[in-house]
């Protein structure tokens, strides 16, 4: 019952609750805020794994920039409440059992894999495997330099695409 154990389960429960709220909420802004909650709990789980840089960057990039844009879009488009529909028969009778079966299969393979228990028991902290920013950056800019540069060009293409799409026709 060590502190990493309690923290792991607390943040895991918050992440799952946020994900459920994301699909079940009626107002789109509530869904967006629950996705922010999921991002933050993922950052906390990264911290428990010893990846401090990734945790901080997860909050800066995902929770602080990407989700802000989601929230902007929802506000500007004034998306209304979701309509209540009767699910189609296939979804009701075959969907839920198939979803449960998928979850059971995932749980089976994860239990066989094993490292999750170690993380929950603070194995990452005990083995002192916290990756420093210095080590991460040495790896990123020396060994994986080409993928890094290729990704940045990909992002540039995305920005150019957005500019072209948003340009007004003159």
């Amino acid at each position: 019952m060590s502190l990493p154990f309690i923290l792991f389960f607390a943040f895991a429960v918050i992440a799952v609750a946020g994900a459920l709220l994301l699909i079940l909420a009626r107002e789109p802004i509530h869904s967006a805020l629950s996705l922010v909650l999921v991002m933050i709990s993922l950052a906390a789980l990264y911290l428990l794994l010893g990846a401090e840089f990734i945790a901080a960057v997860q909050i800066i990039v995902y929770a602080g920039a990407v989700m802000v844009l989601f929230v902007f879009v929802i506000m500007l488009l004034n998306a209304g409440m979701e309509e209540r529909t009767n699910w189609s028969s296939i979804a009701k009778y075959a969907g839920v059992p198939l979803g449960v079966f998928l979850l059971l299969e995932l749980a089976h393979w994860m239990a066989r894999a094993g490292p999750g228990v170690g993380i929950a028991n603070g194995a990452a902290r005990a083995a002192n495997t916290a990756v420093s920013t210095r080590a991460l950056s040495a790896l990123l800019f020396q060994k994986y330099l080409f993928p890094f540069e290729a990704t940045s060009i990909l992002i540039l293409i995305a920005v150019l695409g957005a500019l072209v799409l948003a340009k007004r026709d003159e």
Partner: protein, 404 residues
């Protein structure tokens, strides 16, 4: 008692958090007094004068007013988010103060030796940016959930401004990180020790002057202060995103704005102005008496004012403040306190200077129009920060390239 001996780190952290919260909330309240007094004196008037001696009880009166005002909620608003937004804004602003180191010394709390910081994180700078980048939510959600045109426009403008200037804020800081080669706040301050030619302190404002200008301008825009405060300009948008908020929720936005100002000023002192380092050489040990001497000088001025100008209740109040100042000055002379108070004294002095600069620009400069504001941020500050980053990188790597 066993709890304290079994979990010393937890209890000590709780004590530090309690002290920090108490001090910070008082400082936030009196920052409003400070701002009103300085703006008033720049405009040739007195500001708050009658509520306590020299208006010193004005923040208390404002607090009582905020608590007892009617708490309105717009009828068609999203109630959960309407409640959430001010809490989010204030909580995030106050959380960042846990990362800031106030001094180099170690103190003994409950028998446990600890430094003057609540959380000494290795990636302190990155964690601070993570928390401040979430601050956009408070403003955006407040504007949207008020269900009013003014609020929505103000909220959207304000959050767009905040995310725009956040980019140049972080870029202007990376130059300092390159020079100091670390993200930890303690290391950043320690890398600024030493002197050029034995008397000029080796603060990062020297080699990174352009970075400092970019940083401070972005900080003023990020905290929505004048001259970048169109989103909350009274003449244009009534109140902007906090139009529909009353009573304590409005006070929370108010406090959140001041807390943001304090946070960016703390960051500016740590990164550029040498944090808790004194600008004078270390050998001048007589300067150890400076906190006590300055408090005694303040007490002397207050005593003169009490005797010469104050009458009645204000006289008694100011006499009490004088005695408080004398007491604090005597405390700073105590041998246990004197080495510890040096760091925080210089830190608070530098933050006070930056706060004064904030208030000075508010009362002097006219407001920028929104499109001017956005084009300034994207077309001027961002290229200048990038240029600063490129020049700093070349400056650092040039000796290594030449040696090849």
């Amino acid at each position: 008692m066993e709890f304290i001996t079994q979990h010393p780190v937890l209890v000590v952290s709780l004590v530090k958090i309690a002290v920090l919260m108490f001090v910070m909330l008082t400082v936030l309240a009196y920052l409003s007094w400070f701002e009103r007094k300085i703006i008033a004196h720049i405009q040739s008037r007195w500001g708050p004068y009658y509520v306590g001696a020299h208006g010193l009880l004005q923040p208390l009166a404002d607090g009582v007013k905020f608590l007892f005002k009617e708490d309105l909620t717009p009828p068609a608003s999203d109630k959960f988010i309407f409640l959430l937004a001010p809490f989010l804004a204030l909580t995030l602003s106050l959380t960042t103060l846990a990362l800031i180191p106030f001094g180099p010394a170690t103190v003994y709390i409950l028998g446990h030796e600890t430094r003057l910081v609540v959380a000494n994180v290795d990636i302190g700078l990155l964690a601070l940016f993570a928390i401040t980048s979430m601050g956009v939510y408070g403003v955006a959600l407040a504007g949207w959930s008020s269900n009013s045109k003014y609020s929505l426009l103000g909220g959207l403008r304000s959050s767009a401004q905040m995310i725009s200037y956040e980019v140049s804020l972080t870029l202007s800081v990376i130059g300092v990180v390159l020079v100091a080669n670390t993200l930890n706040f303690n290391e950043l301050v320690n890398s600024q020790s030493g002197y050029y030619w034995h008397f000029l302190p080796r603060w990062h404002i020297g080699p990174q002057f352009v970075g400092f200008l970019c940083y401070f301008t972005s900080a003023i825009a990020e905290t929505n202060r004048a001259p970048f405060d169109l989103p909350e300009g009274e003449q244009e948008l009534v109140g902007g995103f906090h139009t529909e908020y009353s009573s304590f929720k409005f006070a929370m936005f108010f406090m959140a704005e001041y807390a943001n100002m304090i946070t960016v000023s703390c960051l500016a002192t740590i990164l550029f102005l040498g944090g808790w380092l004194s600008p004078f050489p270390e050998r001048w040990t007589v300067l150890q008496y400076l906190p006590a001497v300055s408090l005694f000088a303040l007490a002397a001025y207050l005593a003169y004012d009490t005797v010469k100008h104050m009458r009645g209740l204000a006289r008694i109040q100011l006499a009490i403040v004088t005695l408080l100042a004398i007491g604090l000055g005597a405390l700073c002379l105590a041998p246990a306190v004197m080495p510890v108070i040096q760091g925080p004294f210089w830190f608070l002095l530098k933050i006070g200077l930056l706060m004064f600069f904030y208030v000075w620009t508010r009362s002097t400069l006219p407001r920028m129009r929104y499109d001017q504001l956005m084009s300034f941020g994207w077309k001027l500050l961002l290229p200048v920060s990038l240029l600063n980053l490129i020049v700093t990188s070349f400056w650092i790597i040039w000796p290594l390239l030449r040696a090849r």
